[in-house]
Symmetry: C2
Subunit: 189 residues, 2 copies
DNA sequence: ATAATTGGAATGAATATTCATTCGTTAAAA
DNA sequence: TTTTAACGAATGAATATTCATTCCAATTAT
């Protein structure tokens, strides 16, 4: 019987790797460093992951899965604008609460390490907003622009805000409201 | 007297490296490959650059310098909206004309390889738009939101558009107009 | 004009290092 | 006891960097 909480070794490896990867970069985090940070031997990592790339891809997919779960609670009774604002706020709060997730995505989004399969898995995360925007277009609340372009635009705005946020030292409280305002003005009919 | 054009060896190395780096990624382009592509020996590269990271940083700064030069021709006689639209179009055209520059930036923008000095050097490139937006705010054409936030937002929109553009197979001619519309609606008072 | 000398750019094989992965051993569970 | 998991030193492939040598154009001497 242990006195400490039993934690899944795989998860310890994943979270240790996440921190090192974001802080030092992919080049500068050898597997030995991950093992040390996770408090395991190197061999143990290879019991859970066939290689370094798989480990990294698993982190990527894990984050995307969590990101997706942020959108689940849409309240269809609310006005579309409200729903959209809630969506924006949730996704931004999610990354603000998990800066390492954001840094990881920034660093690996364009990397050849991330496989096509992982990317496809990740792509699903916009499905629910897509739906919301379709409804918005039908009601002529949202501009009649191809949805992929609008989705990209929204993604860009979120990215821009988060970069700005993490770049700042002091936090401006009004800024998120401003951002939501700009995004809404951009996409509203 | 040579029949072929004399080309600067350093520039050949830089451009060869740019192509390999964007096509294969940083991990998968050894210095030997760069040397081969540039038609030089490996040692030659080290006559021009102290190490691989410096080479990469120099490419980064070079692109930023070129990017900056795109904005120079503002026509202050024109309405602010027109000037802004021209700016947007120029910067987007610049990257569309140089896809490798965009790919390079996508891959290295968040990398720890890029030094703080290089980033600071690169940051200067928004100075002229900054100025334009200040004027726009004074005339109450542009929203009274902190300029850094607006600038980030614009950056995000540009990024989103370019990602979308390179992602697409067929080119939609209306899309840039839509994008400009969204950005302007976002920032206008 | 021709030959001799020189400075430094170019070279790439050799070196040193880094690091992903393996595997034989040990420890813990069942 | 047998099975399973953990371990990390050893391995070797990959590759960044070095440096002794070659080569060539420009300069100087004959």
């Amino acid at each position: 019987m242990h006195l400490y909480l039993h934690v899944n070794k795989k998860e310890v490896i994943l979270s240790s790797a996440l921190i090192l990867l974001t802080e030092k970069g992919v080049h500068n985090t050898p597997m030995s460093a991950i093992a040390k940070a996770a408090g395991t031997g190197m061999g143990t990592i290879y019991n859970y992951f066939p290689n370094k790339e798989s480990l990294i891809n698993e982190i990527y997919v894990n984050i995307k899965v969590k990101e997706k779960s942020v959108f689940l609670d849409f309240d269809v009774e609310q006005p579309i604008k409200t729903q959209f604002e809630n969506y924006l706020r949730s996704i931004i709060d999610f990354f603000i609460a998990n800066p390492a997730y954001f840094k990881f995505m920034e660093q690996l989004q364009a990397s050849p390490i991330i496989t096509k399969e992982s990317r496809e898995e990740g792509g699903k995360s916009v499905a629910s907003v897509h739906e919301l925007l379709v409804k918005g277009q039908q009601e002529r609340i949202i501009k009649a622009i191809e949805l992929d372009e609008i989705l990209m635009f929204i993604g860009g705005a979120i990215l821009a805000y988060l970069r700005w946020y993490f770049h700042q030292s002091e936090t401006k409280t009004t800024s998120l409201k401003n951002q939501a305002q700009m995004v809404w003005d951009a996409i509203k009919e």
